[in-house]
Assembly symmetry: C2
Homo-oligomer: 423 residues x 2
């Protein structure tokens, strides 16, 4: 019996899971390495943060996804470094040999000029982040009930969201709905009119990656919900109490949520030349990293620069998934000495929701907004979750939210203290 | 308008919630103080620890329980000290005046001779404890996959449970079921025969508070599931790797789960004489703490010693609930100058489950065990959960577990490192 080729995939995000699924029962051994033991559905992280969904509804253990497939193994470990010369990957749980390596490590927050104060910011990049944000929001509401001093109350109740992409507008919408429907019920003595949610976007429009229609409509929805939307608004500093803008204005708040951008999260050990704009790994049309036949990158961390896409493809789940699926075929072709197929992104559209019956959908040939867009958004997101239980839970919690205008989850399980290590 | 009498309740456990519910819409102002913003259903904590239920299924925000009742307020704060002379309660969120004070603070772990090594133990007393235990179990399984050395593997896979009360036997049963049904599916290369679960009980029988039938049957169930049950087994020490017993035997394990006993969790500021056996507050038949007309204790923290109950009533949810309900009436009687009614505990029975179709139920006049007992256990526990969502989720997760022999939740959201502070 000859040894089967070994494919090591770093990262159990959309890209990593897609390629591993496509390699089920093939004549290869697959090892997925991730620091978490679960895949999480990043687009719904803001729902976990605002008490709309449980972490267990948007995450699924990697081992369970591949439970029935003997050729797919999983290892929970931090990746330390790749050694392309010896085809070895060093991890916190020992060194692994590979024949083919797929870097599907995704992206990390890009704090830009806020890097020095990042410990003062809240974010949405992982489930612990989202749970910290959830705790922080509810802790602040509890604190607000006990605060008489107006200036302190302003600081506690105000929220600044930096970044008008999908995460920022979805979070702003959810907070606006909480302010309107949930907080008055649970905190009846609180003067919610003192709570202001400011959304800052550096570009001239929200959802810059979507259509003008989507930008305009999402802005209108947010304003209708009472969110203060600031465009061309460049944040310049934060001291833990007050966020300042380049135009000299400021806003008092102890809650600054950072959704202003991401950058690639590449692994160590690859040549410096591979790193391009956005901290991404430069790949060719077959997702190979330049100079290597057997090392690939897919998804957010990969950047395939073409004339059509001079800045690389957008950092979206469908890109990662499509690249993963094609790469599974290309690696099998490489193994059997067949020619590779170049990747072409099929844009199936993008969407974002602002809240109840308010969403924007851009399909390649058709753009629409409003109630129907919102139902489409919900349908697509429920069906994209992994596992029947997760789909059912999300459906139930959203259906109940739809009926009751309420959010099911307000537990402060682990109180969050800022500037302490986030574990 | 005369000021309404103010009743302050410390603790949102079974007792605190019961009295507050009974005071809804009465001519009193009620304030509940708890360090958590939720009530949790302690008897199902082991389910959270073993991935059977979500924390959100056994916990419910206090504010939501009383949302529609204007005379009931909540404050999330740590209680620091009571000053009975001035009728003031000091909390981490300011000082509160009371006319009547109800101490419903429940119990805390009693580590006995293991007090010096308590940081090395895992426990089940709060939701963070249960989540830490869950993370630890799944982290250990991940570690086991990477461990070749037999002695290390033994340490990682073995589990010791100290205490053969309901929490101990329920946890042992759940672990045995995980070992049999879940681990082989998710960790197919792991030799689970190396995993040994030892249950140590210092008394001559399990479930010492229940009938002999229940003790015998639960022991038989556990043995059938492969648990090593040790009776008259007094643990004497633990060094983080090996637990030793008074008889000189020992057991290598890094997982020692402490369910060996609890003691009262009284508040500071009450006279030293009030504290009796088990760190509980001595109360009279009206749940008044001796020497005070307006300070009461109910539930686990209260001890009403009578000829029938020379050691006080058992630390059970129904005792706390019945005391809370009667005390609500007695405080209203005090206010209107009527004579008080003495508390009498109505024992409606106790039950415990070892696992699938294995439970023991002691009713006052009838004791039974087995499948029917298990259905009764499930029915009673589902209906005791607060809120429709929690009932439905518990039902769904248990029903799915019943069909699939699987447990839904295996996410390591916050990895747990021992000897660090538990937040």
């Amino acid at each position: 019996m000859t040894k089967k080729p070994k494919i090591v995939i770093i990262g159990a995000g959309f890209g990593g899971i897609a390629i591993a699924k496509a390699l089920k029962n093939k004549q290869v051994d697959v090892l997925i390495v991730d620091k978490h033991n679960y895949h999480n559905f990043q687009p719904l992280m803001y729902q976990v943060a605002t008490g709309g969904l449980e972490p267990g509804s948007i995450a699924y253990p990697v081992r369970r996804i591949f439970r029935r497939f003997k050729n797919i193994q999983f290892r929970m470990a931090e990746v330390l470094e790749v050694d392309p010369k010896t085809n070895k990957l060093k991890t916190s749980a020992g060194t692994v040999d590979y024949d083919y390596l797929v870097v599907a490590t995704g992206s990390q927050n890009n704090y830009f000029n806020f890097e020095p104060v990042k410990e003062q910011l809240l974010t949405l990049k992982s489930i612990p982040d989202a749970l910290n944000l959830r705790s922080f929001i509810f802790q602040n509401l509890e604190r607000a009930m006990l605060t008489k001093e107006i200036e302190k109350l302003t600081e506690i109740l105000n929220v600044a969201i930096v970044g008008g992409g999908p995460a920022g507008i979805e979070l702003a919408g959810a907070l606006a709905e909480m302010k309107r429907y949930v907080i008055p019920r649970d905190f009846p003595n609180l003067d919610v009119s003192r709570m202001h949610v400011n959304l800052y976007e550096a570009a001239p429009r929200l959802l810059a990656a979507m259509s003008e229609n989507a930008s305009e409509k999402s802005e209108a929805y947010l304003k209708k919900l009472g969110i203060n939307v600031f465009l061309n608004a460049k944040v310049s500093g934060y001291d833990g109490k007050k966020i300042t803008l380049e135009d000299g204005s400021d806003f008092i708040t102890d809650t600054v949520i950072w959704t202003a951008g991401v950058k690639g999260a590449p692994v160590k050990g690859l040549p410096q030349e591979s790193l391009v704009r956005g901290n991404r790994l430069k790949v060719n049309a077959f997702n190979q990293i330049e100079g290597f036949e057997n090392i690939f990158a897919i998804g957010d961390v990969a950047s395939c620069i073409t004339d059509d896409n001079p800045r690389g493809l957008p950092m979206l789940a469908p890109v990662a998934q499509q690249q993963g699926r094609l790469l599974s075929k290309n690696i099998l072709r490489l193994i059997s000495g067949k020619p590779l197929e170049a990747f072409r992104y099929k844009d199936k559209g993008t969407m974002a929701t602002v809240g109840r019956k308010k969403a924007v959908v851009d399909l390649p040939k058709f753009k629409f907004q409003g109630s129907f867009a919102w139902f489409v958004w919900m349908f697509v997101h429920i069906f994209s979750l992994i596992g029947f239980r997760n789909k059912l839970l999300a459906f139930m919690d959203w259906f109940s939210n739809y009926i009751s205008y309420d959010r099911p989850l307000g537990l402060i399980i682990r109180p969050y203290k800022r500037s302490k290590s986030k574990n």
